[in-house]
């Protein structure tokens, strides 16, 4: 078993004791939605009220916290990283509640929906416009899930960031390639 796979498996096992286990977001969650790319980013969406409990669990696993705010936290263990985004607002709380369980080689994982993942990728891009990889991920998610995506929901996430024109552009780009 690879080191990254073992890292995820260990974290997921520790999180299982929580009433609402964190759900995968970020690059690894892409794979659950048919977009596979190399990533060592281990990102979870977690209940904000579980922040202290998660902090203790991760310290027990040997991580140290290098940043923590009311919105997010970053943990490292040697060259391994694990990031938490806290679900504090209605959209994130709904997406966390609706996360699907998947049986995988890393254990039973909760994974955010493709629509929600696009929303968080957009949020990542808004926070750092040099992260064009997030836009590439959105394009790939649109391409791979075009027939099943709830596009009005996705458009709603772009509206939250006043980026509806970007949504229209990306969808048009996706459709022109079909």
């Amino acid at each position: 078993m690879g080191r990254l796979v073992e890292q995820v498996r260990q974290a997921v096992a520790a999180f299982a004791e929580l009433q609402t286990p964190p759900a995968l977001i970020g690059g690894l969650a892409l794979a659950a939605h048919h977009v596979v790319r190399a990533t060592r980013d281990v990102d979870f969406l977690a209940e904000a009220s579980d922040a202290d409990r998660l902090h203790a669990l991760l310290l027990d696993l040997g991580y140290r916290c290098i940043h923590r705010s009311e919105d997010a936290a970053n943990y490292v263990r040697g060259d391994e990283g694990l990031d938490l985004l806290y679900a504090r607002r209605p959209i994130a709380r709904r997406l966390l509640a609706e996360a699907e369980e998947r049986e995988t080689g890393m254990g039973r994982l909760r994974v955010i929906s493709a629509e929600g993942l696009i929303g968080f990728k957009l949020q990542g891009y808004i926070n750092d416009a040099t992260r064009t990889r997030d836009l590439d991920d959105i394009r790939a998610l649109l391409r791979s899930n075009r027939d099943t995506l709830d596009l009005p929901q996705v458009r709603g996430y772009f509206a939250v960031f006043d980026r509806e024109p970007l949504f229209d552009e990306l969808v048009a780009e996706t459709d022109s390639g079909r």
Binding site: V5, A31, V36, A38, S69, A72, T104, D136, S144, V160
Partner: protein, 68 residues
């Protein structure tokens, strides 16, 4: 690693001269393995770890505009 057919990249490297090859990079592509794309990712990362067993220490990703 298994011997299942590997997914076909939706974007070829010939279209992307200079595309980075790093521990957390590369272009995303649609998995052709509809049975378990997570297994496909595990295979991919196992191969990458074999090529690059040591990673740079992660740095904090701090955002400021959280609206979701």
């Amino acid at each position: 690693m298994n011997s299942s057919p590997k997914p076909t990249p939706a974007v070829s490297h010939t279209q992307l001269p200079g595309a980075p090859f790093a521990a957390s990079a590369g272009m995303p592509f649609a998995s052709g393995r509809t049975d378990s794309p997570i297994d496909a990712w595990m295979d991919l990362m196992e191969a990458i770890e074999a090529l690059c067993p040591r990673w740079p220490e992660p740095s904090p990703r701090v955002g400021c505009d959280y609206r979701l």
